[in-house]
Symmetry: C2
Subunit: 455 residues, 2 copies
């Protein structure tokens, strides 16, 4: 019995074999749950379990009301490799290339000069709400500094397991600003901060700026930070804070499973860590919006950071932070360094959320992102060289591993000459690794022009 696979495992193997043998080709519809139950003499629960496992591996996709389809990319599902070596904490020195890419801003787009197309309907509605908030300004409103947002944000967050109160939030100029305040409030110069590798390069820049030391935690591009590696690091070194992006982390779109989150919280308690949650991609989840890490925070040590830049509009510059035990220090820091945030803007966005504009926009956006992800993955199947890619269930980008010897950093200026901005792998770490890796965005339609640009 012990060696005999479960029934769902048998079905899973059978389906896998069928996909491998191309009985069902990429894009084909699999037999329905009912058909599988009948054909294989299995219960509905067993069939669903097997399909869910295939879905979790990115081999099968659920299309609501249509059934299960073979994912478009089964030939390239090998997950990119990540570092496994752990190195001692060290100061951060970031190359000028970071600044260049951040200034070119796109970073998420291959062809940043391409500004075509009409405004998405969700943004039109948003802009109308902001316009109305501007027209509703009365009397001396414009002479005061304060923060009217919060309530609508807490309603959104409560749906993700965290019953936040408006006073728990502080409005910021985007998520990068929130991360800056979080690190400034929870760390002192020279402190060691654990981060994901590969991970968001903006954090590396903040660490450099604040003269903090970094230790990189090997991070799966599927399931996020390696908790065993984190534990090993915490045993060895005195780590003050850990920046983590549990939901669809850049660059690979990893989603941290619940057991890893719980283990991380327990470690944070044991080693008295500040956990800085970068939640910016969470609402992009194609089939589920994961709970916040903050929802598990019983010891008031998770600093939650996010903004609307990834799922709504970068141009709002509207983010937020909930500072846990460091919150009053964060409020003070924000006040001292910047005073306040736009009230009309917050009011406009709050109205937009309240009237359901955000929910509709996100619904459309998620479908769109999924489509664009598939377009991108499909176009990669035609590539002349073998690649390994992530198949993220959220976020705006995939992580691509090219054959050994390819140097994406060297390719950056060449691509730039042709007006193409790529995000080379080495930017996502200070380890010097990932020279043959690349982050590719699917936040724009994967059209002919971009497709040609890449090849």
């Amino acid at each position: 019995m012990a060696d005999e696979p479960f029934r769902y495992q048998q079905l899973e193997q059978w389906l896998l074999q069928g996909i491998h043998d191309e009985r069902w080709k990429p894009g084909d519809r699999l037999p329905s749950i009912r058909e599988l139950c009948d054909q294989r003499g299995l219960s509905k629960a067993t069939v669903q379990h097997a399909l869910q496992r295939l879905e979790a591996q990115g081999l099968v996709e659920v299309r609501p009301k249509s059934g299960h389809f073979v994912s478009l990319v089964p030939t390239i599902t090998k997950t990119p490799r990540i570092i496994s070596r752990i190195e001692a904490p060290r100061p951060v020195t970031v190359s000028d290339l970071f600044q260049d890419i951040m200034r070119r801003s796109a970073a998420f787009d291959l062809l940043p000069d391409l500004h075509a197309g009409a405004l998405p309907p969700g943004i039109v509605v948003l802009n109308r709400a902001i316009g109305r908030a501007l027209r509703r300004q009365r009397g001396d409103d414009f002479q005061y500094y304060d923060e009217p947002a919060g309530e609508q944000l807490t309603i959104q967050l409560a749906r993700r397991g965290w019953p936040a109160q408006p006073d728990d939030l502080c409005i910021t100029s985007g998520c990068q600003h929130a991360l800056f305040l979080a690190l400034m409030a929870s760390c002192q110069r020279g402190d060691v901060v654990a981060i994901e590798s590969p991970g968001f390069y903006g954090v590396l820049q903040l660490l450099e700026q604040l003269e903090l030391q970094v230790v990189e935690v090997p991070t799966s591009t599927d399931t996020g930070m390696d908790i065993d590696a984190l534990e090993e690091i915490l045993e060895h070194w005195d780590v003050r804070a850990c920046v983590v992006s549990p939901a669809f982390a850049t660059p690979g779109g990893a989603l941290m499973p619940m057991d890893a989150r719980q283990r991380m919280m327990a470690l944070a308690d044991r080693y008295d860590l500040a956990l800085i949650e970068d939640d910016i991609y969470a609402e992009s989840g194609f089939s589920q919006i994961p709970d916040t890490l903050k929802a598990l925070d019983e010891t008031n040590r998770v600093i939650h950071c996010s903004s609307f830049s990834k799922v709504l509009s970068r141009d709002l510059r509207l983010g937020w932070i909930s500072g846990a035990r460091w919150h009053s220090r964060i409020l003070h820091l924000k006040l001292v360094t910047q005073l306040a945030s736009s009230r009309y803007l917050q009011q406009g966005v709050a109205d937009y959320i309240e009237e359901g504009g955000l929910t509709s926009h996100l619904r459309r956006q998620r479908g769109l992102l999924r489509e664009r992800r598939d377009q991108l993955l499909t176009s990669l199947q035609a590539w002349p060289v073998p690649v390994r890619v992530t198949i993220p269930q959220g976020g705006l980008a995939i992580w691509l591993e090219l054959p050994d010897g390819v140097n994406t950093l060297a390719a950056y200026p060449q691509a730039l000459d042709q007006g193409i901005v790529i995000t080379p792998g080495p930017l996502f770490s200070v380890s010097g690794e990932y020279t043959n890796c690349l982050r590719l965005s699917f936040s724009h339609p994967w059209d002919e022009q971009r497709s040609r640009a890449l090849s």
Copy 2:
């Protein structure tokens, strides 16, 4: 001849005597320029010169198309006293009261809960321009980070003696944010920074935050920073930077004369100072908009900081910085801590300036502020206690010295209980001085309710 006063001085003395003897009472119209020419046998230029000097002293006011009037406040023109003692540099510890007052934000208003009245026409036009910029967003505009403002700002600044280029400017979230970037870029922890005393409390908070040391420079509430005192300080201590507000500095509205500016520039060169110019009040000048200090900067050491918060709307959160030799470091700091600033907002404000909206608004605003200043000063004449006040030619506030023994800091919570926010003198220094002083704003109409609130 050497001892004989010039003809304009004789006329000035004669007019002063007449005001003193109440031949012309506060609010009275003086004889017209033509009448004075005829009666006193003087040239038009001489009469104008004398009147201009009286105007500069705040004793006489020009009302366009009406003539010259005796200022409403000749009985209280004694300038408040300031510190003359110089103390060694020291770390800054700022009381919680600062944060409280900044959070109550008003700081510039006595009754912050009073939000009545229609929106000023200049703000209505501004909001329309921003609304249009929002509607004009196209395609993927909202997905990019960049800064379209600049050109219109440089046109404004060029009129003030400084031919800035758009690339010289970096957009910030207001002037406090600009000052933060300026200090962070030009100083290291422990450095000594010279500031005005009394001066803007927001700078003290920044120094505390950045762990910089402060040395306070005695500062006249009429003519600004005492350059002799500054020189003495620079001889004694190794000062890294000096924050100065040459145009209508808070709290008193001082305007630094040209010779003081030139001496300050020469000292900055000799002692290799970063000069951080807080220019936020400049455009409020009632009869003249002074040139920027930056206009005198031949050695690339003046960091110019400003925003639209004081003369247009606090709710824009739109400021700028020109970082001189520290500019690239400032650009990097801004990028790392906050990425970008709203593009639609900058576009809206740029359009507003280009279409002449700002110019019209400022013209109306200056007249209004002058009227409100006079209302406030008039109401002070009726006070039961003797006061010394500044009579500023710009800015939004006066500085008020009450009799010795009055403790404005102790009065703060009492006033707060009645819903009144005052800005106690001790907040404008770390010296412990100014306990009997107060900053009073005239940025709101000085109506009955506020008048009662004060007494």
